[in-house]
Symmetry: C2
Subunit: 231 residues, 2 copies
């Protein structure tokens, strides 16, 4: 089976004074996460779509699904504190309800509503063939490293650097096996699910992302997203 | 003296089928680079504004300046093949025409028209106090390293990573001194002027950039820029 896992665990702290986490803000006439979920509902390869959101937003999220996307393949469950905990909740849910050695999990940010079907399809293929994949684009900006945020430590060669997007997709049994090997310290410092593979020296295939597959992090991004929607 | 150096050496190859380099494309009612130069003309701290552009575009650029910004403090000179050659041409021009040990050079991408006066002022201060500075923002995307562009090699900790913007500003005598130490191989592989300092283990201070200080690289960015302009 193939599962879409939509990560909507963000608290929206970077959006300034807004009351709601950014996945719930209106983009055009629908909340951001509805746009995102639609992309996965419209692709018939997915058996189930699992939406993970903070406990206090579960009822609101279910109301939104009933209003905009009344579809029984969408399940709403609780997200974790950290991104990696949220992915773990999705793994547990799938393993409990649909145990199978060939399950594929496509994880995607709820706040990236402009993901394309080409990107989704290539994720499924790459996860089947390589166990793990990441969607990335070449870094357009120079990347700079600084430990103290006051002085620059290093400017790595840009040729080898990419900006990570999502989806990130995995063969579930492999993801689970590698996750179980992590110690508590590793788990706490994981900001990225693909890193479970790289720190275990397991390959992560690359899927080419797209410049328009933006992440809505700041109020500025929501303005850009509204503009893209009108194009 | 304080010099603004506007780097307009780009050939626009990433803009797709457009005929003109992106710095000459219309943003609202004026070419991109006119918006950018205006920011520096409006700040009275600059003695001269040096605009560097490919040889075949010099006449066109001069025509644009005459039309939109008839101001004698703007000089148009030839850019180099690489970004670092362009910076070198600016250094040579200043050293020849205005030799002085205290000269400050503020280098800025012609295709970043939304730089703020706060950022420009902080660049001048940081260059005076620390000899070199870079304008950067915290990386919003996860950064990924890949040598072969097929598999991920490393996902560095995002906490320490930033996206470089411009301006980058320098005390000219120090920049020249460090540049002269570089061998040919180092010069060829330099994509960033601040790297002249970091590879010599000299400090580069950080100026906080802004999310709206975007670089117009792709057609998508020009659409976003037109949208920002209307806000």
């Amino acid at each position: 089976m193939i599962f879409a896992t939509i990560l909507a665990g963000g608290s929206g702290s970077r959006m300034g004074s807004t009351e709601k986490p950014k996945q719930f803000l209106l983009l055009g006439e629908k909340p951001v996460l509805i746009h995102t979920i639609e992309k996965f509902v419209l692709n018939d390869k997915f058996d189930d779509i699992i939406l993970l959101t903070p406990k206090e937003w579960i009822n609101h999220t279910k109301d939104l699904i009933n209003k905009y996307l009344p579809n029984e393949s969408i399940k709403v469950i609780e997200s974790g504190n950290l991104r990696i905990d949220t992915v773990k909740n999705a793994m547990d849910y799938i393993n409990e309800n649909y145990p199978d050695d060939d399950n594929i999990i496509v994880t995607h940010d709820a706040v990236r509503p402009f993901v394309s079907h080409r990107i989704i399809e290539e994720n499924i293929e790459a996860a089947k063939n390589h166990d793990a994949c990441n969607t990335i684009i070449p870094a357009t900006d120079t990347i700079v490293r600084s430990k103290d945020s006051e002085f620059v430590d290093e400017i790595p060669n840009r040729d080898e650097l990419y900006q990570g997007q999502t989806p990130q997709s995995f063969k579930l049994t492999k993801l689970q096996e590698l996750y179980d090997k992590l110690d508590d310290n590793q788990k706490e410092n994981l900001t990225d699910a693909c890193k479970i593979f790289t720190i275990n020296n397991e390959p992560v295939a690359i899927v080419k992302g797209d410049i328009s597959n933006i992440k809505i992090t700041y109020p500025f991004d929501l303005k850009v997203a509204n503009f893209i929607l009108k194009e």
